[in-house]
Subunit: 349 residues, 2 copies
DNA sequence: AGCAATTGATAAAACGTTTAAAATATCAGG
DNA sequence: CCTGATATTTTAAACGTTTTATCAATTGCT
């Protein structure tokens, strides 16, 4: 474990001062052709690499963001949606020399509600991934640290980016209406969540736009266990019961819009198991375009979210915020598109 | 964004030197009762938190490890197995004040085969997660940086921890033999992978131990697309064909041991689809105890790996390596247990 | 040639800590 | 009251950079 050469060693072997070496390395100041060449030679020979810690101390930035998961690493990691988001986020950040420091909220905050690495200045800002309670978001907001809500939003002026669930609602209803559907019902979790609300609003506006009947009864919601999305527990049961109830009536819906693919796929499985044919008896539309959506039989018509792009744009948002604090707050909605597969029936024929 | 108070400010308001403040904060040296009390008061009043960057520069450690994914973040994140491992790893590290810096191999290494944050001293060591090509592992090994192979192993003296696939093989075969099975076949990917080899060796030793016939024909392997585990592509097809071929013969196996749950579950689905009853006609055993294993019908008998523990112990390994470099290399196997569910038939009745 | 402007290089300070060594204060024993 | 021992505190260096201000050398212009 030979100790790495410092900038002093480079300067010594180049017969110049460390300031000149630094200038060459950072393309600043003015340095003569010969000196520059000599220095670069020595750098190459020694395999010199700048020491980030010294650098960070001086420039008062760490070029690192904290990535915080709620409630824990495992809960977030298990969701394949976030895997892609992470990929886009990480790729874009490393492209500009930034890094990600990782933590689950529950483990990183024993004394203070704020993770230790933020308090101790190891990061330049925080990226929040997951369904954080708004009290927690507030704590960060008050601290005035660069902050990004990724795939989430909140009423206060905090940078955020979500997929455009509103536009999705319009697109879905238009698609269904075009296929002759007139009685459409949506299904969503009862949780307080910006994305859910957005998608419901889009759905209801879509109904209005297409001149279809719609009221609070058009959305099936059930208070579930307020746990991770991966746990398809009692709330799915309850929602399915409501759906079946609805299907019995004389004005049974012909199409179901699920708030995400996990829910949609589970419902399709339950329907098929009960002998209700999809899409012939009930069409189903999802949201997210998870990998499983294609493998479902019938393949799921759903809303495609460019998850990597979500991460990529998120990265740019927080970079901007961290480097130019005066930038006005951005609340972005990433455009989405409907991808048509086999789970929607055409009623016009 | 008021600038945070430094140790100087604390010292000034406590009428003492920064050395004394530092001593109090780190419980070193000898400080009088009164001074200590006064200093702690000021610290509390100012909300002072040590600046990690300054500290890290001085102590020449960052108290951070790099967590490297291969090939990319998304590929690893998508695997729920790693989600739990990560959880255990992160929890244990934060418990002792350490952190994780994150990167996908493909994105973090554009010029050099070594990620930038390691070269620039942002981390004290590297944790490798995923099926890294051994050439890459070699590069790290030669660099003599603290290194941990998590859920992987290699011939060189590098700390590593895997689940005990060998013991698993013995347990599985014993379990099957106890239930009256005598013709057992295993199925695994063709990839070069330590875990796969270990599990196969355990399986073959198990056959021997139980006095059952076994040779190279007892293991169905197929060269698949050398891609992520989540992609159940052509290799599954080929392996299933081989299996069906084997089932036709007069000496058809009565039990199948799959190298992991993903493979096991996919095979069960294919078998059921073809009208072959599980476990009546063919018993199936998996490995990993993924979440899906319980939901399968029939529920999958498999090997339970304590994934969080895998991460936890891994954390301790690399901590030890980083703080006491002379420690002899550890190659650990985490004990596993067979969990009996419904996918193995009892042939004795 | 003399003066101003430009270019090239450097010294030194600063970033926020920890820690070894030095300095000072306190105390007990003769 | 002096001496040596011990307890407490401080000084100053070091960690590896970046950057400002300064200095020296070169060039352009009259």
């Amino acid at each position: 474990m030979a100790t790495r050469p410092s900038i002093f060693e480079v300067a010594r072997q180049s017969n110049c001062s460390i300031a000149t070496v630094s200038n060459v390395l950072n393309n600043k100041g003015r340095v003569s052709k010969e000196k520059r060449k000599k220095i670069l030679q020595v750098v190459a020979k020694l395999g010199y690499q700048v020491n980030s810690v010294g650098r960070n101390l001086r420039i008062r930035r760490t070029e690192t963001f904290g990535l915080l998961f709620y409630p824990s690493c495992a809960e977030i990691f298990k969701n394949p949606f976030y895997a892609e988001v992470m990929q886009g986020l990480e790729a874009q950040l490393t492209r500009v020399g930034y890094h990600l420091l990782l933590a689950g909220y529950e483990t990183s905050t024993t004394n203070s509600p704020i993770p230790n690495f933020l308090l101790s200045g190891k990061v330049d800002g925080m990226i929040l991934l997951g369904r954080f309670p708004s009290e927690i978001i507030q704590v960060f907001h008050e601290r005035k640290t660069p902050l990004l809500l990724l795939d989430a939003n909140v009423e206060w002026p905090v940078d955020s980016i979500v997929s455009d669930g509103f536009s999705a609602g319009l697109q879905i209803v238009k698609h269904l209406a075009d296929k002759g559907h007139r009685r459409i019902v949506m299904m969503a979790y009862e949780w307080e969540d910006y994305n859910i609300d957005l998608r419901i609003q889009g759905f209801l506006s879509g109904l209005q736009e297409q001149g279809l009947p719609g009221d609070e009864k058009s959305v099936i919601r059930h208070p579930g266990d307020d746990q991770s999305v991966t746990r398809q527990g009692t709330s799915h049961d309850a929602m399915y019961q409501s759906l079946k109830e609805r299907l019995k009536g004389p004005n049974a819906p012909t199409a179901l819009v699920a708030v995400n693919d996990t829910l949609a796929i589970d419902m399709v499985h339950r329907l098929l198991r009960d002998g209700i044919r999809v899409p012939e008896q009930l069409s189903v539309v999802g949201y997210d375009d998870d990998e499983m959506a294609q493998n479902l039989v019938p393949a799921l018509t759903t809303i495609r979210v460019n998850k990597q792009e979500l991460g990529r744009v998120g990265a740019e948002l927080i970079l901007k915020r961290a480097t130019q604090p005066k930038t006005p707050v951005s609340k972005l909605r990433l455009p989405v598109e409907l991808v048509e597969r086999g789970s929607v029936a055409d009623l016009r024929r």
